[in-house]
């Protein structure tokens, strides 16, 4: 059973410089208990896709142009704002990239944790407090009953991200969306935070969407991966297939930019030559063609469609 189904979602930004097609006809699903990886260069529309159906984008300039999004069978795009609010932070939780700016510096951790519970559940303040402390213990914060009194600036980056994770899980969500949860963290603690998310996922049996620009991050954690470029999905396959038989030239390029420990040159980071396109004026045909090493004649004329190739889906004229 699919917990989330997104069909033909389009979300544009109506800016002074034109219409930015940040999400342009995106379809995917998340099965119950599954971890879906969403990868792509920065600016490819990974965040906007998920912020859009949760109603978390400023409108204007953002507007959902068309599409369908169903969560547990409920239509997210056509429900009233109050019902959507009651899902957020409750059934669907989100963790953001930068724990330094994602917690309110003016409020204590206690306030920010407790309000997350109290806004969705009718329980006493004491019970909410107890649950909050338990939440902190669960994410491995030492001396949780003391730490809960702190303000965000008194904690390290890693601790703050653990607080964010604890906060996201307080109401036992069915779906957790982790948007680059380790990108802003020190390399030495990234693995610990990812492992924590993975463990909690298994413990609670929730579904996870793990967004990242670094394929290396998702390797051991995801079941399936979608690869995004310029607001579109270029490839969708099991994690195994993405790493072993990548089809789209863009996916291959992304894999080459993953830092590897086993190369003789040591830790290196290649980036894909060229720049991501201006989404207000995307290239004709395949949006990746100006940077594609395997470009053929029709790539700049005809837009490829996402089609099934073996066990995968890929949007490329080579297949």
């Amino acid at each position: 059973m699919n917990i989330l189904e997104v069909k033909n979602l389009k979300n544009y930004f109506h800016t002074r410089d034109g219409i930015v097609k940040a999400v342009d006809d995106v379809s995917f699903h998340v099965a119950k208990g599954e971890t879906l990886g969403v990868v792509g260069e920065s600016g490819s529309g990974k965040s906007v896709t998920h912020l859009a159906y949760l109603g978390l984008l400023p409108s204007p300039p953002s507007k959902i142009e068309s599409g369908n999004v169903h969560f547990q069978g409920k239509d997210l795009l056509h429900m009233d704002l109050e019902s959507l609010r009651k899902l957020r932070g409750n059934k669907i939780s989100m963790i953001f990239q930068d724990p330094m700016t994602s917690l309110n510096p003016f409020l204590s951790i206690k306030t920010q944790l407790m309000e997350t519970i109290l806004t969705h559940t009718n329980i006493s303040e004491q019970d909410a407090y107890k649950k909050s402390v338990e939440g902190l213990i669960q994410v491995g914060i030492p001396a949780a009953d003391k730490r809960i009194e702190s303000y965000p600036h008194e904690l390290s980056g890693g601790m703050r991200q653990r607080v964010m994770i604890a906060m996201a899980l307080l109401n036992n969500p069915e779906l957790l969306i982790a948007d680059e949860p380790t990108t802003a963290l020190d390399v030495t603690i990234q693995a610990g935070v990812l492992e924590l998310i993975d463990n909690l996922k298994k413990q609670k049996g929730m579904s996870v969407i793990l967004i990242t620009h670094d394929l290396g991050v998702v390797a051991g954690l995801t079941d399936r991966i979608i690869v995004m470029y310029a607001g579109q999905i270029k490839e969708e396959a099991s994690t195994f297939d993405i790493f072993n038989t990548p089809k789209h030239p863009y996916t291959k390029a992304l894999l080459q930019s993953v830092p590897r420990l086993d190369t003789t040159k040591g830790n290196r980071l290649l980036s894909i030559p060229g720049l991501p396109p201006d989404l207000a004026k995307p290239p004709t045909g395949c949006r990746f063609h100006p940077r594609c090493p395997e470009k053929i004649d029709k790539c700049d004329k005809e837009e490829p469609q996402l089609k099934e190739v073996g066990n995968c889906k890929v949007s490329c004229h080579l297949y």
């Binding site: 912020l51 953001f96 700016t101 994602s102 309110n104 510096p105 003016f106 204590s108 309000e115 806004t119």
Partner: protein, 305 residues
């Protein structure tokens, strides 16, 4: 915290001493003296006066004498209001200015903050344009225009408020509005700017992602940070407003400190000028201390040791 406050209070003493010194010598450099008038006074009277106010002594002696009195919180006799000390005059007129200023600033804070919040919530809407248009008007309309305009309408035409004076609540309405208008406009703009700055922060998106109600997001998550610029503004504004406004006090014939201050400068009433300057400085310094303390209450990242 207590130690910090004590330290701040002690550190004002040298500041006040410097202000006293500079003012003392500046007003004496300015041509003219307190006892110059169109009719020259007979020499013997002038001599008695000079003796009485120690004008016959060298300047540095007068200075030391003034500082010594100041150490005892004695601001000396007024040179123009015979038989009245500067302390007496300030004590008598300051409460009036304080009352006027207090109500004006309260009026300005309430309406300014509400207008600012509404504007920021309906950013770039008609509500926003309306309030910000009004604010621009408030800032550009001087009180010597607004005051008489109000008098014309409410006192002379509709006859529902007294023209001038300071003896009852109806008397206070127009001066308070006239004095508060510009402050209301400033506070509305600062509130709007501060709120918009916070609204675009990541943590507001987090608050929304947690499913908090809009009301909670505004009142708990946005307001505290959004009002910081207003708090910074209110401190010095309070010091300025409670020490009196010449224009408003003159228009409405309010017996406050503002009128004395300007009058004393024109009269070369040396002690009165110095007294009001020092008094203003003390209030300003005190208000800045209050602002800093309020800051620590609003923003946990700010700590003073």
């Amino acid at each position: 915290m207590i130690r910090y406050i004590l330290k701040r209070i002690l550190s004002t003493i040298p500041v006040l001493l410097i202000i006293a010194t500079i003012t003392f010598f500046i007003i004496r450099i300015v041509p003219g003296g307190p006892f110059d008038s169109e009719k020259a006074l007979p020499p013997e009277i002038l001599e008695t006066i000079n003796k009485k106010y120690h004008f016959d002594e060298p300047l540095y002696m007068q200075y030391l004498r003034y500082i010594k009195d100041l150490a005892h919180l004695d601001l000396g006799p007024s040179f123009k209001y015979a038989n009245r000390s500067v302390n007496e005059i300030i004590m008598q007129s300051f409460p009036v200015s304080f009352e006027l200023g207090f109500w004006a600033l309260l009026f300005a804070s309430i309406f300014g903050i509400i207008a600012g919040i509404l504007s920021s919530l309906r950013h770039n809407s008609r509500v926003d344009y309306f309030f910000m248009g009004l604010a621009t008007l408030g800032i550009s309309l001087p009180s010597f225009v607004l005051g008489p305009l109000l008098v014309l309408i409410f006192a002379l035409h509709f006859n529902i408020l007294p023209v001038a004076g300071w003896s009852s609540i109806p008397h206070m309405i127009m001066p308070v509005i006239t004095l508060g208008a510009m402050y209301t406009a400033y506070i509305a703009r600062l509130t709007r700017g501060g709120m918009l700055e916070i609204v675009n922060q990541d943590f507001i998106r987090t608050a929304r992602a947690k499913g908090l109600k809009e009301r909670t997001i505004v009142l708990r998550h946005t307001l505290k940070g959004g009002l910081l610029p207003v708090v910074t503004f209110l401190g010095p504004a309070f010091a300025g407003i409670v020490t009196g406004s010449l224009v408003v006090e003159t228009i409405f014939n309010v017996p406050g400190l503002g009128r004395y201050f300007i009058q004393s400068a024109l009269n070369r009433d040396y002690t009165m000028v110095m007294g009001t300057v020092l008094f203003y400085a003390v209030i300003l310094i005190f208000m800045n201390l209050v602002v800093d303390i309020v800051y620590t209450l609003l923003d946990p990242r700010v700590k003073y040791e």
